[in-house]
């Protein structure tokens, strides 16, 4: 038990040191813009279908599940606003981040882990190319910028899903549906939810990179790096979410 705790704290410490390097390296040229845009494409564009499907299902299911309770209280007209608020403030950011942890963090962990065990990272190092700058900075930066965009996308698709859900039991005009959503939303609903998605993105990228970079030699460690990246990133997302909600509650 004590050994486990010690390992957890050691891991947190080492990840922090690894992450600290990012803030130093991100400002030092050369800037790997080509690799950064390539990663944005892989992380952002290639995740769109997955995020779209889950976003739509989230909106649809949330509407269908909430409707009976609201109908009981005669508050069915609140449904669009409630669904939109739930999606934007909590469900879309967390679910999208979890999907990204599964898809992106594990992918980065496996990719860098396999590069580590096949000495490709060492090959970069001995060629006087900074592997941290080329591999880590680009991926973490791309994750930090792409995850919020994916969350916005999931919000939008989720709202469409909600509209479909409402129309299963009734006939609501899309314009009226949107008007109700916009009326129920405030800037403060969007702002904290958006800020936390940047942290989600950063953590997803950083943990994937850390796990890959620290994979020990051997093919088994590649699988472990990918698996461990998903578990740690998912857990970190919940912890960040909890802290973000507390801070939001404190200030707003």
């Amino acid at each position: 038990m004590i050994l486990n705790l010690k390992n957890i704290f050691t891991e947190i410490g080492e990840t922090t040191i690894f992450a600290k390097k990012f803030f130093k390296e991100v400002f030092i040229p050369p800037y790997e813009t080509k690799e950064f845009f390539k990663q944005c494409y892989i992380i952002g564009y290639k995740s769109l279908p997955l995020v779209a499907i889950t976003g739509f299902i989230m909106g649809l299911v949330l509407t269908l599940q909430s409707r009976p309770t609201l109908v009981k209280f005669g508050a069915e007209s609140w449904l669009p606003g409630m669904v939109a608020l739930s999606l934007i403030r909590e469900i879309a950011p967390v679910i999208t981040a979890l999907i990204c942890a599964g898809k992106i963090s594990s992918g980065i962990g496996a990719e860098l882990g396999s590069m580590k065990v096949t000495e490709q990272i060492d090959a970069m190092e001995v060629s006087a190319i900074n592997p941290y700058n080329y591999l880590v900075v680009t991926r973490v930066l791309a994750c930090t910028l792409m995850v919020p965009i994916l969350v916005f996308f999931a919000d939008a698709i989720g709202i469409v899903g909600g509209y479909v859900g409402i129309n299963i039991h009734g006939d609501v005009n899309f314009y009226r549906f949107l008007t109700q959503i916009i009326q129920s939303l405030e800037f403060l609903d969007l702002f904290p939810a958006t800020i936390k998605t940047f942290f989600f993105g950063f953590v997803i990228g950083m943990i994937g990179c850390y796990k890959g970079f620290t994979a020990s030699n051997g093919t088994e460690s590649v699988g472990q790096a990918a698996n461990s990246a998903v578990v740690t990133a998912s857990l970190s997302i919940f912890i960040i979410d909890m802290v973000a909600v507390q801070i939001t509650d404190l200030f707003f």
């Binding site: 396999s114 096949t118 000495e119 490709q120 090959a123 001995v126 060629s127 006087a128 190319i129």
Partner: protein, 258 residues
Amino acid sequence: MTEKLHKEPKTKDNDQSPIIEIKDLHKTFGKDNTILKGLNLILNKDENLVVLGKSGSGKSVTIKCIVGLIEPDQGEIKVFGENVLNISKNELNAIRVRIGFLFQSGALYDSMSVRENLSFTLSKHKRDLSADEIEKEVMEALESVGLAEAVDKMPSELSGGMRKRIGLARTLILKPEIILYDEPTTGLDTITSREISELILDIKNKQKTASIIITHDMACAKLTADRIIVLKEGVIHAEGTYEELEKDEDEWVRSFFQ
């Protein structure tokens, strides 16, 4: 011949100046896994130095210490007259550009084609080169290893021997003065091994490079070595030419040549 080598590094030809000089190198992994116990080694200009030894005797650790992939616990490593253990990262990188390193697996970047593998390294160091100039240098490097036709292939499409050759071409593209070969013929058939060995010799003759070649392949050692050292328990146990060591009085040393 074998005992006094532990203290004084020996050179074959006093006229040649040392390009790498290692003194009293120590390295321990974990608490008690001591690999190097005061290694002294010299690599002269235009020399092919073959390093023999059992697995775990510290051969790969030594060359990884030279390029700064592993930090030794104690000792001095002078490359081009500079102690690589006491210099900044930028200064170390300036030296790394002058050293080529061929990994056992070739270590080609899996996500890049052969062309990208070569141009990636070049474009990072010679940012003023145009795309045409980079392409020309890539093709020249590939032609020097006889694999110009593989330029558009992905590493997964290459055989073991081809991967090593491409790895060598990637190393050569920066025109290094020293090349460190980590088991260049391991896992290859006899014919391909010989081709790689001949390539190593050819590179040395044409490009006037100095090399440290770690190998278990005695045919490769015989063909490429100007001088051979045999590592045992973290220090040099024997040193000489292939012919000298083949007839060494120590049976353990002779066993490598049988």
